[in-house]
């Protein structure tokens, strides 16, 4: 029972899709179409043979689908919902939870914790730290001043100066903050 191209068109009309209702027609790889596109794939393959595998991949992506459509084939790839859910849950958790990091300041008797997600950029962060630790600094211009430097520990365990990398990159790699005395940071004595 070979399926000819015209049969294929008719089949398409009667096909039962497993896609969720409301999914747009253009991109779907409906149950029959992967097979159909498989045929088209074979044709395309013939055309570009002996093309490189690169052009084959390009054809594949045109025929089979844009990533969006792949995600819509129900139950494919065959991964247990438990596994899928545990990854989804973790992603959601990471997104929902704040990004709380400890902040220590040299000479201060206790540490603080701040949620990095609350701030839009470095300026806001510095201001917030300034407010938080103002009581510990004696007569200086706050964190912005020359007395202190703000540093952070990144994913690899290294201590970096705050402000070098784009904000988004910073908050994704910052593990904790330390407000360091300039004298310690540069090895030079602070001004009296």
């Amino acid at each position: 029972m070979e399926v000819s191209v015209s049969d294929f068109d008719n089949l398409k009309a009667t096909e039962l899709r497993l896609g969720l209702p409301g999914i747009d027609a253009p991109e779907k790889p409906a149950p029959v179409s992967p097979r159909g596109s498989k045929r088209a794939l074979l044709k395309a393959n013939e055309e570009c043979w002996p093309g490189t595998s690169k052009s084959l991949e390009a054809d594949t992506s045109n025929q089979e689908a844009q990533p969006m459509a792949k995600a819509q084939v129900i139950g494919w790839p065959p991964i247990r919902s438990y596994r899928k859910n545990s990854f989804k849950a973790r992603k959601a958790e990471v997104e929902a939870a704040g990004l709380f990091v400890k902040v220590s300041m040299d000479g201060a008797p206790y540490l603080r914790k701040i949620d990095l997600k609350v701030y839009k950029g470095y300026k806001e962060l510095r201001e917030a730290l300034d407010n938080m630790f103002r009581c510990f600094s004696t007569g200086m211009e706050g964190c912005n001043g020359s007395e202190y430097a703000i540093t952070y520990e990144d994913k690899d365990g290294d201590w970096m100066l705050v402000g070098d990398v784009p904000w988004e990159m910073f908050i994704s790699s910052c593990k904790r903050l330390r407000i360091m005395r300039r004298s310690e940071a540069t090895g030079m004595p602070s001004s009296p």
């Binding site: 029972m1 039962l16 995600a71 790839p77 065959p78 438990y82 990854f87």
Partner: protein
């Protein structure tokens, strides 16, 4: 045999380990049937609707251990609607009413309510072992009932269930007198756990050998537990996040070092690479390692860990291990028997992580490999032929190329020859899952060579009815056949209707089978249940006069002596 007293026959039967053997002897003659049924201690029901629970109770009054499976396998991938069925309660009720001394219950893909768990806990004073795999419908309150009433509980093993969280009190329900636990696995629970109660429980159970914690258990708690239970053989860590500079981390390493019996590790939720060195001391003893829930551990760190695991027999990883990582596995883990490589990007989108190269490397380095589950972005016929030559001992071979219907990228050919080589070489193959571009030819090979094949999973494959017919005609030992999105229709379905009575079940979804074909099958074979599952909102017209020529979305056929089931929901038509 009439010369032998029954006790002798019974004693002989005691040596029969497998269910199949016991089933076989029970059919020899009435006398043997009688002896066998009274002495049977363990019953396995592969399909909960194949037989009524009351019948099992009546026939085997001495049964102490029961295993039941419910939903068809494709339910794992959301292809079976939630309310389809597979309820545990009728089984527990029947055993309770029958006054049987049930000690062990193992359920897979069933709906288990808190009510059932309560009934279970109260009805069987000698109850020892509860194993629930991929089940749903219960909450931690049900677990509380088990903990409270099962005085001699030895095993509570919850694998990948959907459990509603009603708080951490269940763990505290184990009375102080409970000291019998050997195995406790609650890794799938999503909620908080009372750390102190857990530590006390572990401390008073000297025989505990398997302990799998959930994500809520902190490393601090884990440390204390390891100190109390250094004889653990199988450990599932809780969340494995810890500041690797802290003192707690050093305590953890010390406590791990004391666990000389540890053979299997899993868990590692949220594990960051810097914490891994804590387990280095015990890697040399590991036979089982599951890192498939730790996406933060990638390439280089994985490799460092695996280089230490010389005795590994079972490895589950994510595909971020890469082909390079698999090459390290191949050169290190010479005892490897089972490998599972899961996609880290569950949507199947993204850059290629493992390809045929990794699989070929594994096959040449690990000759004892017999069980494979491999998700990859591409596969070639040449690679499969090489794998078949290197590893002729496969009993389970499941390959999932993430792109449905993808051909061999080098030759543009279907993967018929590659899979053909696998079935020809692996004479003991019992389970096979296919993927990639496949024509009827691969089914011809399977029918010809896969003599031991018991379970076959097909998706987006084949050209015509011939494909399915090759399989039905050829595979003498086929028990389960599941097919989705393939062009097999009524002609294939009806080619050999008697075949389905030799099998446990057949699943077909998004194929070409029509309602007429299903009705014909049902009419011809009264001892099969033919279920048609329709989930979509049908228009009234459809409801009243569904055209018989209309293709069915999902069809599930299984042999049964129980007749049509009476708990089917509206959307399931029993034909």
């Amino acid at each position: 045999m009439t010369y032998f007293p029954e006790e002798v026959v019974e004693h002989i039967f005691d040596f029969l380990g497998s269910h199949r053997d016991r089933n076989a002897v029970s059919t020899v003659c009435k006398a043997w049937y009688g002896v066998e049924r009274l002495s049977r201690r363990s019953v396995f029901v592969g399909n909960c609707y194949a037989v009524r629970p009351e019948r099992v109770v009546a026939r085997f009054p001495g049964v102490r251990s029961l295993s039941v499976k419910g939903k068809p396998h494709f339910a794992d991938f959301n292809l079976v609607p939630d309310d389809w069925g597979g309820f545990a309660l009728p089984w527990i009720e029947a055993f309770a009413r029958g006054g049987l001394g049930l000690e062990e219950l193992r359920l897979k893909r069933m709906v288990v309510s808190d009510e059932s768990l309560e009934l279970l806990a109260r009805s069987f004073p000698s109850f020892k072992v509860l194993v629930l795999i991929s089940c749903e419908g219960f909450s931690t309150d049900g677990l509380a009932a088990i903990a409270t009433h099962c005085r001699v509980l030895r095993e509570l093993d919850l694998q990948e269930n959907e459990v509603e969280d009603c708080g951490p009190r269940w763990l505290s329900c184990f009375p102080d007198s409970c000291t019998s636990l050997v195995s406790l696995n609650f890794a799938c629970l999503k909620g908080e756990v009372n750390a102190a109660a857990l530590e006390r429980l572990v401390a008073r159970c000297p025989n505990i050998r398997t302990l799998r914690l959930n994500r809520a258990v902190s490393v601090d708690s884990l440390s204390k537990i390891l100190a109390r239970a250094p004889h653990l053989v199988d450990l599932g860590t809780g969340s494995f996040t810890i500041d690797h500079h802290a003192e707690a981390y050093h305590r953890l390493i010390n406590n791990f070092t004391k666990c000389k019996s540890l053979k299997s590790l899993s868990g590692f939720w949220d594990a960051s690479p810097r914490c891994l060195p804590a387990v280095y001391p015990i890697c040399g003893n590991l036979t089982g390692l599951n890192l498939s829930y730790a996406p933060a551990i990638q390439g280089a760190d994985l490799i460092k860990l695996i280089r230490l695991c010389l005795k590994l027999q079972r490895l589950w990883v994510l595909d971020c291990i890469g082909d390079k990582g698999l090459a390290v596995v191949a050169s290190t883990c010479k005892e490897l028997q089972e490998l599972r490589v899961f996609p880290s990007d569950v949507c199947g989108v993204g850059t290629a992580a493992v390809t045929e190269e990794g699989l070929v490397a594994i096959s040449s380095g690990c000759p004892k490999l017999n069980s494979l589950l491999y998700f990859c972005h591409q596969m070639t016929n040449a690679a499969l032929v090489t794998v078949a030559k290197n590893c002729p001992h496969f009993t389970r071979f499941r390959l999932c190329i993430l792109d449905p219907g993808k051909p061999d990228p080098v030759t543009n050919q279907p993967l018929d020859e590659g899979f053909g080589a696998i079935v020809q070489s692996c004479k003991d193959l019992r389970r096979l899952s296919l993927s990639g571009l496949l024509t009827d030819q691969v089914f011809l090979y399977i029918g010809m060579y896969a003599e031991c094949l018991e379970m076959l999973s097909i998706a987006f494959a084949g050209d015509s009815d011939k494909g399915m017919v090759y399989v039905l005609n050829g595979c003498k030992n086929l028990r389960k056949l599941e097919i989705r999105d393939s062009p097999f229709g009524d002609a294939a379905l009806l080619e050999d209707v008697g075949k389905y009575e030799t099998m446990r079940s057949l699943w077909m979804s998004s194929c070409y089978v029509t309602l007429k074909g299903c009705k014909t099958l049902a009419a011809k074979m009264p001892r099969l249940n033919v279920e048609v599952i329709n989930e979509r909102d049908e228009s009234d017209e459809m409801e009243e006069n569904p055209s018989d020529l209309r293709r069915v979305e999902k069809m599930y056929v299984y042999r049964t002596v129980a007749g049509p089931r009476n708990d089917a929901p509206d959307f399931v038509w029993m034909l």
